[in-house]
């Protein structure tokens, strides 16, 4: 792909690196976490040097993900405030998923779906981190009821989060020209004009 000098910058190098730290730690957490979630996934522990290593490493990866997510959260929070246009977008999302995006309202840097994803992931991250600390026996010894509650919340929020990330990844694969923003930070003007016209106007002045 020839990169056009007129491509629009969507993410800085630091933002991209931040996203990759969250992403890599999430994938490793999901693989090791699923292993303890249901016996069907237990063989996944072999990716981590065996089940005991998976148990040891998992919470430290969790700390890494939590810290890097906090940074990404404060970087992008102000861009994810819901507006009436977002609500209208969300009400029409069915048409878009069906393959017709002509009736979608104009969106800024993020559309309503991305904003919902952002806040849902933030809530899940908070639940995962707090409940994870409750069940991290290597360092903490909380009251048994808190540990039991932590185990349930951790498993439930984890399952929801894996589902959300699947949608997040699929959306990036589905909308062509998106993934390059994650790799080298730019998108084509046509991509921006079609999917985020408000943002396109803002950065090009057109």
């Amino acid at each position: 792909m020839i990169r056009d000098p007129k491509d629009l910058k969507r993410y800085t190098a630091s933002e991209r690196a931040n996203h990759w730290v969250v992403g890599i730690s999430f994938i490793l957490l999901a693989l090791s976490g699923l292993a303890f979630f249901h016996p069907a996934f237990f063989p996944l522990t072999q990716f981590f040097g065996g089940p005991v290593w998976a148990r040891i490493i998992h919470p430290y990866l969790g700390v890494l993900m939590a810290l890097s997510f906090v940074v990404i959260f404060f970087r992008f929070r102000h861009l994810n405030r819901m507006t009436p246009a977002d609500k209208e977008w969300l009400s029409k999302v069915g048409q878009m998923v069906d393959g017709d995006d002509h009736n979608m309202p104009e969106q800024g840097k993020y559309n309503g779906g991305q904003k919902v994803m952002f806040w849902a992931l933030a809530v899940c991250m908070l639940l995962m981190t707090v409940s994870g600390l409750f069940i991290w026996r290597a360092w903490f010894g909380f009251d048994i009821t808190l540990v039991r509650l932590g185990a349930v919340v951790h498993a439930a929020a984890g399952a929801v989060m894996i589902g959300l990330i699947m949608v997040h990844v699929y959306a990036a694969i589905w909308v062509k020209g998106t993934i390059r923003a994650m790799w080298y930070g730019t998108v084509t003007r046509a991509w921006a004009k079609q999917h985020h016209r408000g943002w396109y106007r803002q950065v090009t002045g057109k």
Partner: protein
Amino acid sequence: MALQSLDIKQRSATTTPAPQARQTVEIAKLIDVSACIGCKACQVACMEWNDVRDEVGSCHGVYDNPMDLTENSWTVMRYTEVEQNNKLEWLIRKDGCMHCSDPGCLKACPAPGAIIQYANGIVDFHQENCIGCGYCVTGCPFNVPRISKKDSKAYKCTLCSDRVAVNQAPACAKACPTGAIQFGSKEDMKDYAAKRVDDLKERGYAQAGLYDPEGVGGTHVMYVLHHADQPGLYAGLPANPSISPLVSLWKGFAKPLATLALAGVALGSLFHYVTKGPNEVSKETEDEIEREDKEEAK
């Protein structure tokens, strides 16, 4: 198959049935609290037979020593002074794993084969498969398993599964000088307990009874209590123990459903792509940008 005495009934984190053709007699240990003199011979025998030695602790001013179960103390005597019928009573309960028929530890364990329930009812930890997560502690309604600080593995009473496998009584039962610890088939132990309960009732303990809690499907360590209506008197023995509803929710039907839901999202995405196609930038928009570029170039 291995020794019939070690036939497996349930195995942690295993979703397929265990071999069930052979039917083995269920065994049980009966602890007659009313006959216990608190000598701790059982604690010593346990350490001896299992080759575990706890650290020499300090005196806390009470008979309990050590103060709690540890990875090296799989059974401890718990001493409680209570007033019943205007009389002081010294209740001594030998605490340790109850070997539940429906074991919360086994249900919670994520490591295949780390917790085994034998057909005879013994619930045994196989440390070589233990990953040290502590989920067994989370699942246990009796607060029994302990995680070793040395190796992060979970330990508890094995009911001397190695002795029972070769038709020997557990070390604690063998050592008990008063016959307060009996061992045999669960049926025989229930019969024996019934006689002890009758005897206690005759002696004025109207509420004497057998502790074999139904909430965990019955246990393979049972107590004869003089106050079976108040198990809590005996150093907080739970009156109606059962696997916490939180643990059942965590380890129950929710997980297979969540797994199916996730598989649904993955397959749904794939088939969405296949049926609706990618969301590409329209030719129209690309042409617009190109036109603008040309106009600017003029």
